[in-house]
Amino acid sequence: MTTSHNPTNAAATEPYVLNIGPQHPSTHGVFRLRVVMDGEVIRDLDMIVGYLHRSMEKLAEERTYTQNIPFTDRADYLAAMSNNLGVCLAVERLAGVEVPERASYLRVIFAELQRIASHAMANGTLVSDAGAWQTPLLYMFREREKILDLFEMTCGARLTTNYMRIGGVSFDPPPEFWPALQELMDEMPTRIDEYASLVQDSEIFLARTRNVGVISAADAINGSLVGPALRGSGVPWDLRKAEPYCVYDRMNFEVPVGRHGDVYDRFMVRLEETRQSVEIIKQAMAQIPDGPHKTDIPLALRPPVGEVYGRVEGPRGELGFYLVSDGTPAPYRFHIRAPSLINLSLLREMAVGVSLPDAVVALGSLDIVVGDIDR
């Protein structure tokens, strides 16, 4: 046995490697963290992704633009509507397709519904990561279920909706959709209050999330964080305000930003955003005009040679589609700027040096979707 006499470097325990995932309750999918731990404290962290990699960008090069829309459902499978919207807007800008006004309103309504559903999931799983045995999660699922019912009513699918089309949306909602939506929106604020009251002021939840996983505003910007992770750090950046697409410039809403940039702030930003989404949907319902829901486009849409970077504010942040067209019906390059993946850029900084439970909560607050990471 070596007798390296080094009292200052007295390791209390031996560091060891812990594999969190690919099958683990807190990774929300097949996502793996290889963590070097010293007791309870994380000394190093390496993330291993790709278990769900379907090479979507390669597949897209063999398919027309319309055929690519269903792929985006499967990328971020918790925010299919937003993904559909993003790719449609990008293609429309590339090909110069006009969208009827009613379709724009419908897109706003469904994108915001999707945001509510996705944030409910994100916040629910975050609280579940903090150990609340799924009660808040199931409360938040209550409204998510109703929203998915509305999706099903409109386009027949709940999760992978494939609802948006280039030039509009695939279906006009049925007449019974509107009262159901109205009723949901009427009860939504009290429901949000209800599930906020479950956790928002819970001292245990506060103790677990306050000053945990703190990201400063400068780091968040430099680390390409987007969405609630960026806004949680106090940066008022929302593409719906900054670069209004569809009819967001006619909507009156506010952007919540956090105070400390910790897990609690990201949670609260998501919570407030659901409230704002309800407001947006109410305004859109009041303003929506009659008219066609779709313009006809050629089956083989041939955008001119060129490139476009279209982006929307998805539930997880800036969702970009970088499309390069060579004039053929299929994109030459189809790149999805996945917020889930890029938000993980700072995970190592957040997790190294803190204890395992903090790292789990910090990871949960980034709201990753493995389909979006791997694509």
């Binding site: 090479s55 390409s224 940066v235 970077y309 053929t328 019906p329 993946l341």
Partner: protein, 200 residues
């Protein structure tokens, strides 16, 4: 041109960038500015630190395979000024492409560069942790390259032509009412005619 609503004119960026760092701009268009690949880090740092452009965030980083070269595309944005700057670097070496990393300038490049390395095979020098991201070490090739698993018969990957556009099928489809004349390209033929029998 389909530029984003807040995207800056590439010529304007090129003028200022070229004035500050001489010889760095190789080309500029309405939409983007092309910089010398070996000096891309310098260009990004200048754009990030300049008062005028304030490109604080690397919004998107990706690459495009142009058969003989690679385009690495940087979408930068300023949150305060609310505009976008698109920077491109053309990597001429298609066999062993290499480029300085943007990580020293933007921490957000960490995973995006790994993704580009994994799928396109572009090496980023002085990237702290350049490993494959999605695929495992030892995976043969880089799948997003156009010559990956080269298709026989001189075809390149990509959908050259919508299958139903094959002149042989054209009349049949139009008779069946599935197509309108609007769906047809202006001229028949083209480089993708082999696709018609491809059964995609």
């Amino acid at each position: 041109m389909p530029a984003g609503p807040h995207q800056l004119d590439g010529h304007r960026v090129a003028a200022r960038l070229g004035a500050a760092l001489s010889g760095i701009v190789t080309r500029a268009t309405d939409e983007w500015v092309e910089v010398a690949p070996e000096r891309v880090q310098e260009a990004l740092r200048w754009l990030r630190d300049s008062q005028e452009f304030d490109a604080a965030q690397l919004s998107n980083l990706t690459a495009v395979d142009r058969h003989t070269s690679f385009e690495v595309v940087y979408h930068l944005q300023s949150l305060d000024l609310n505009h976008q700057v698109v920077v491109k670097a053309i990597v001429a070496d298609h066999e062993a492409p290499s480029l300085p990393s943007a990580y020293p300038v933007y921490k957000g490049a960490l995973l995006q560069e790994r993704e580009v390395y994994d799928l396109m095979g572009i090496r980023f020098a002085d990237h702290p942790d350049l490993r494959r991201l999605f695929l495992w070490e030892g995976y043969p090739g880089h799948p997003l390259r156009k010559d990956f698993l080269g298709i026989g018969g001189g075809r390149t990957s990509g959908l050259g032509r919508f299958p139903n556009e094959d002149p042989a099928n054209r009349d049949r489809m139009m008779n069946a009412g599935n197509l309108t004349s609007q769906d047809m390209p202006p001229e028949a033929g083209g480089h993708g005619s082999a696709m018609a029998s491809g059964g995609h």
